[in-house]
Amino acid sequence: MEIPYTVTARPDTGLWNAKVGIWLFLASEVMLFGGLFSAYIFLRLDAEPGYWPHGLLNVPVGTFNTAILILSSVTVVLAWAALKMRRYARYKLYMAATIFCGILFLVVKLGYEWPQKYDHFGAYIKTSSLEKYEKYLGNKHLLAEGLPPRVEITGHLHNEEALKDPKIKEYEVALDKVYTDPDDPKMDRPHFLYVPPTDQIATIAKEDVERATMFLPTHSTYFATYFTITGLHGLHVLGGVVVFTYLFFFGGKTYRQNPEHLANRVEVAGLFWHFVDLVWIFVFPLFYLL
């Protein structure tokens, strides 16, 4: 006895096996990312005022990646449609486009955005020393505006070795723009466009610093969640790309035996891809905009 309904739908359920399978799998994926997003909410609500950073991510790049993913979701549908119309050449084309988008996304994310983060530096100032750095932080102004205080000074760390070497007593930071003119109302809200660090150097004494790190997962719960969720999402993108590549190169055999079967496989992979896309649609606003 062979296993039925691998390609054709079962009359009473109207589904073929793999489709049931992928929907169930996606249900569990929803719960997985649901868990992570609930952690995000938990931690963000717990964060003390000033300890949940804003505007540290590169919004235009993020927007670009969003566009890429949405585009790829379209191309994968087109690839599937092409198969349905039995236009194999065109299927190959769209599939290639999808794979390209996936890889491009990963390159931008892991090759550009992440590195840009972890050579950026931030130093949390001790509550007792906030006064001393008022000229960078501008908390009086923020207080007047009724905005959360600034407790961290960020920028590009000039003396990298200061992080390791205890003999060095202060950090030399090329300030981010905000801290050069903290009272400027234009600086109250995070910027949409990415602004590189200025060349104004501030020296921050280690004894005034609560914690100083590069923008790594250890920096704050914000970056912890950011790297964890985008990392896991990246793995999903990678998985999708691998599957697509397989279908791209080895789909031919299946196609010749039974085109419908390949179409089904592409449909299943596509459903997964849409989900990965959907997750990003949540990630983008949560981390880049809000």
């Binding site: 062979e2 569990s28 868990g35 250890t218």
Partner: protein, 626 residues
Amino acid sequence: MDASSSISAHAAHDPHTHADHDHHELGWWRRYIFSTDHKVIGLQYLLTGLCFLFFGFCLMMVMRWQLAFPGKPLPFLGNLIQNVLGPGAMNNGVMTPEFYNSLGAMHGTIMIFLGIVPIAFAAFGNFVVPLQIGAPDMTFPKVNMASYWAFFVGGTIMLVSFFVPGGAAKGGWTSYTPLSDIADKGPTYDIIFNGQTLWLIAFICLITSSLLGAVNFIATIIQLRAKGMTWMRLPFFVWAQFVTAFLLLLAFPPLESAIVMQLMDRIAGTSFFLPSGLVVNGAAVSISGGGSPLLWQHLFWFLGHPEVYVLILPGMGIVAEILANNTRKPLWGYKSLVLAALVLGFLSFIVWAHHMWLTGMGTVVSAFFQTTTMIISIPSVIILSAFFISLWGGSIRFTVPMLFATAFLPMFGIGGLTGIPLAFNSADLYLHDTYYVIAHFHYIVAPGTIFAVFAGIYYWFPKATGRKMNDFWGKVHFWPSLICMNAIFLPMFLQGMLGMHRRWYDGGQGWTLSSEKVWGLSGFHWNTPISIAAWVMGLAQIPFIINFFWSMRYGEKVDDNPWQATTLEWTAPSPPPHGNFLATPVVYRGPYEYSLPGRAKDYTMQIEPVQPNERSMPEPTMSLGH
């Protein structure tokens, strides 16, 4: 021409040549080790699971020595373990607190995730479900194999973690943070090879395994039901597995996310679960802080509670099959049983906080969770009541499977009922974390689920091997086990009421509250009879183990339907060939058509068509496979 006669027609030629010819394509390796056949995978799960179950039990037998005779060197084993695991585990043959905590955590983890779940869900589910719904195999055989091997790897990692410096995880099976976050983080901290990290990694494998399994089960039950096998004709066991699969599918991922976060905390130095201002050993810990210790508990118990129903539902399913078969009458209130199982499944997602009563809950939240916890006890009451009432009017045969199945009922009853005081958070103020809790859930999982598992093994053994397990030794296995189980867990209620707490390395010796007398013994001294009972129970398993392996070769040969049962698996040859059935089965009636009035035999199989004059029916089973 109706199905049954068509089957007898096919049955003409020998199923075994049939089987062989099926197998010739596959080498031994693919047939028994990397097999994609749901029956083989089921048996792989069963054997591996049983070994883990037994191992978990051995850990506990070692712990019980420390609880009964704290500070006394463990005879024989003490030095052996010291030589293998070093003085970190055993100091001059005396168990160290670290090792006690490791044993406790690993006992819990292994029993639940490497013992009961693989056996009750994966093993029986794999072997029985496709047969009972008349399917040739699981929908995704390769995924099925992957599921087993993911489980195997996870289990291996768990075992390996005993041998890394510092020993296996010590944070309890609940791995509460921050304790587990900072565990082992000494100067000699190895980022991967330490108990807690390996525990987390092993879990990722186990979760992957049960996700693959769950997807497969649900898809199989939805897609591969035989012609005529409508939802309301499914045996209750299939329903139980169906709900269980959904619990695993939806409850495990949140834990997986939590595990990823704890891994990040341990490996990448994040602070998901670490609040600001931690002071460990008189020094402030250098972390970003801002994490939330309770977040872990929420994510853990969001799995944790559904998980406990994962432990019991398959057991209920097994018991249901055996009750119907051995009372020779239909299950009472089949529809309400199915409904109750579904409700149980849904509700189990909204009761988790009843494990967190003492974390400082407001009135509204606690009122909500107390109410849901109360409500969820109702479906269980319904299920048990239905089982009890099913006995009424039956003609009860006390076969070995039936003995275990009947014992299950009151044992689960005790365990379940004692959940009720725990469900009131005010009462839990006193009972939380005491041995009362230990007794509560052990009554459900040990004499409950484990007995259901035994019942299932004795019941389906003939289908898997074509031979019966020995009845006499079965009874020799049953009675001592029943007595010991109660001798072990009943006194724990007393210890709990005295205020003795769990996870006490000294068994309560250092506490005046446990020197109070109850029923003639002090709380602490109750440990001795409990431990002795536990060890005797170990002995009581020997007849089973021998019987199990002996019967595979020398057990009494039986026909395809030795219990005169009605469900589909008994229409297939024993053992079923690759592809299971000789002809695609067609289903004509409900699962429990026992003792239909006006029939020659007292059972009517699901494949028997409903005909005007039932008496002239051919006897399909008699000719099956011969």
